[in-house]
């Protein structure tokens, strides 16, 4: 079964696109190890006949008419962008 040591904080941080300092990595490794150890208690529950609940209300597909309506202008949508020009978001270069 799973051991808390399965958690490799440095690896998961890369998956999450989140840089951590060495001190943070070490601290989270210990603290989240404790949390996962606590969560181990869920293994004691018999869930073999239970369907997973994504949420608690009986709503599944929500459709609406495909109609035009007013929403943010391009200017409004760009208003909080850290970098923008010519009505576009400026992103960091992806290809050389």
């Amino acid at each position: 079964m799973l051991k808390p040591s399965d958690l490799d904080v440095a690896y998961v941080a890369r998956l999450a696109r989140l840089n951590l300092t060495d001190a943070e990595t070490e601290l989270f490794q210990r603290q989240l190890g404790d949390v996962l150890k606590y969560a181990d208690k869920l293994r004691a529950v018999d869930v073999s006949h239970v369907e997973a609940a994504a949420h608690t209300i009986p709503i599944f597909n929500v459709f609406r008419e495909d109609e035009r309506r007013d929403w943010l202008t391009a200017e409004q949508a760009l208003s909080n962008a850290p970098r923008q020009a010519n009505g576009l978001f400026i992103v960091t270069k992806v290809v050389e």
């Binding site: 941080a13 999450a16 989140l18 603290q31 949390v35 850290p82």
Partner: protein, 492 residues
């Protein structure tokens, strides 16, 4: 009534004065602004206030509407058009919301004036408001203690009479717990009852907007404005909305109230236990029927909650990438460096911790063991409540096992902080509604610290728990007690 006594009023009484033209919306706003200026240096409940915008609203407010002319404090996770919305995070410093959240649009339609954005744990992750990336908020009953969280700013503002009422949000107790610790009324509506459109998402299967108020009636009045279907929100329920004030005033005779034996845990502060026992006895004497029930999966709720909430948070917070809004790292080497440093610089420690945990429980090889299993246990918790509500109208418990704790007392041990949600997070998992009302005080180090009584009701049964909470509240004097900093105002 002189002008400077106004902040002590509850919403119902204030609105009555407004409606009868005994005071104008602008006068109310000026007095509230002065009150905030005089006490918020001690409490630090507010992150930002746009007085100019509110003053414009006040000039044209229609006082004949149900909340006409009433200023309402807004947790800084809810979008108010043109105003700062930071979630108390550095990553959103300087962000101005380009539109109103649906709850704000509805408050305005009912005549209310959104006034001031309140402090919170960063992205609503926490139970003490100490995870704010901006500042600490202090408990008005004892300035060395936390107000609870994550909606600690709204709770403290109401408790210190520097807000007439406020909006908060909940994912696992973030309205009810600060209400209990700050001595005010906190309502978490059922999942789907109130639209989250325009509210920054933390854990989408759990999040819900609710109220922090001085009285149960005030909560019902705000609910009348904000509840209901929103076509812009796919989890919003298209169900009729009752008039939540209509049933208020009915007594407790015939009310069936459940006590869950699983809630009689060790670790409940003795003074909290005494207060809850006394409240139960009191309601029994007023004609309520007290019934023992069982919620067998209670012990698993915190584990389920922290797996599901962090998983959903890690997905929701992926949007903070330094491109469309928010902080962006300087001079990135490449795209990975851009993302990694933007998020490192923008997020605080608790948010990072939860992103790591959430990413882990969703990652390949662990999804079934943690996330899927937690969703299944969640269903069992939901069924526990469904069975209990066949026998009772509401469940009674403490809101928090302890009164307000000291600033800094719990910050080193995240797991201990998480366990503080034991009585509140099951309701979010089950999608049901809950309310916390003041039910007494603990005497600690010469301070009176408020204790909250929690009532849980079945999904969409807000009217019932409001009615029961109101009957209890009106038969006691607890809600009339005022924090020392509020008592510096003359009585209304």
């Amino acid at each position: 009534m002189t002008g400077k006594d106004l902040p002590a009023l509850n919403i119902a009484d204030l609105q009555s004065l407004l409606r009868h033209r005994e005071v104008s919306p602008r006068e109310v706003l000026d007095v509230l602004q002065a009150r905030i200026e005089s006490v918020d240096g001690k409490i630090d409940a507010y992150l930002s206030i746009d007085f100019e915008a509110a003053a414009k609203e006040a000039e044209k407010a229609n006082v004949d509407l149900p909340l006409g002319g009433v200023p309402i404090a807004i947790k800084d996770i809810i979008s108010v058009s043109g105003e700062s919305c930071t979630c108390a995070s550095k990553i959103l410093r300087g962000y101005l919301a380009p539109y109103d959240a649906t709850v704000i649009r509805k408050l305005r339609a009912a005549g209310a004036i959104p006034f001031g954005k309140t402090n919170m744990d960063e992205f609503a992750m926490g139970s003490s408001t100490e995870n704010s990336g901006v500042k600490l908020t202090r408990n008005p009953w004892d300035l060395s203690r936390v107000p609870g969280g994550s909606s600690g700013g709204s709770a403290a503002a109401v408790a210190a009479d520097e807000a007439f009422g406020g909006l908060g949000t909940e994912t696992g107790g973030s309205i009810r717990q600060p209400a209990a610790l700050s001595g005010v009324v906190g309502l978490k509506p059922s999942y789907g009852r109130v639209s989250r459109f325009g509210v920054v998402a933390f854990a989408s299967s759990l999040d819900q907007v609710g109220t922090l108020t001085k009285t149960v009636r005030d909560s019902a009045m705000i609910m009348n404005a904000i509840a209901g279907h929103d076509p812009q929100e796919t989890t919003s329920l298209n169900e009729p909305v009752p008039d939540y004030t209509e049933e208020l005033g009915k007594d407790l005779r015939g009310a069936r109230l459940g006590l869950a034996k699983e809630y009689m845990i060790e670790g409940i502060d003795p003074q909290v236990k005494t207060a809850i026992d006394a409240a139960v006895k009191h309601m029994d004497s007023l004609g309520a029927e007290i019934i023992d029930v069982s919620l067998p999966h209670t012990d698993y709720a915190i584990a389920v909650y922290y797996i599901l909430a962090t998983a959903e948070a890690s997905a929701n917070l992926a949007r903070f990438d330094g491109v469309r809004y928010g902080h962006r790292a300087e001079h990135p080497r490449d795209l990975l460096d851009h993302y990694g440093r933007t998020r490192e610089e923008g997020f605080g420690p608790e948010v990072k911790r939860r992103i790591i945990l959430g990413t882990y429980v969703l990652s390949s090889g662990y999804y079934d063991a943690y996330y899927l299993r937690a969703q299944k246990v969640r269903e069992l918790i939901r069924q526990d409540f469904a069975k209990a509500f066949e026998k009772v109208d509401a469940l009674i418990s403490p809101t928090s096992p302890v009164p307000a704790f000291k600033l800094g007392e719990r910050t080193d041990d995240p797991l201990q902080m998480y366990l503080a949600d034991i009585f509140t997070s099951p309701a979010n998992l089950a999608g049901i509604c809950g309310i916390s009302v003041p039910c007494g005080f603990a005497d600690v180090d010469g301070h009176r610290l408020p204790i909250g009584l929690q009532l849980l009701g079945k999904a969409l049964d807000e009217a019932r728990i409001l009615q029961i909470a109101h009957a209890y509240e009106q038969s006691t004097d607890w809600h009339k007690a005022r924090s020392p900093i509020a008592a510096t105002l003359p009585n209304a």
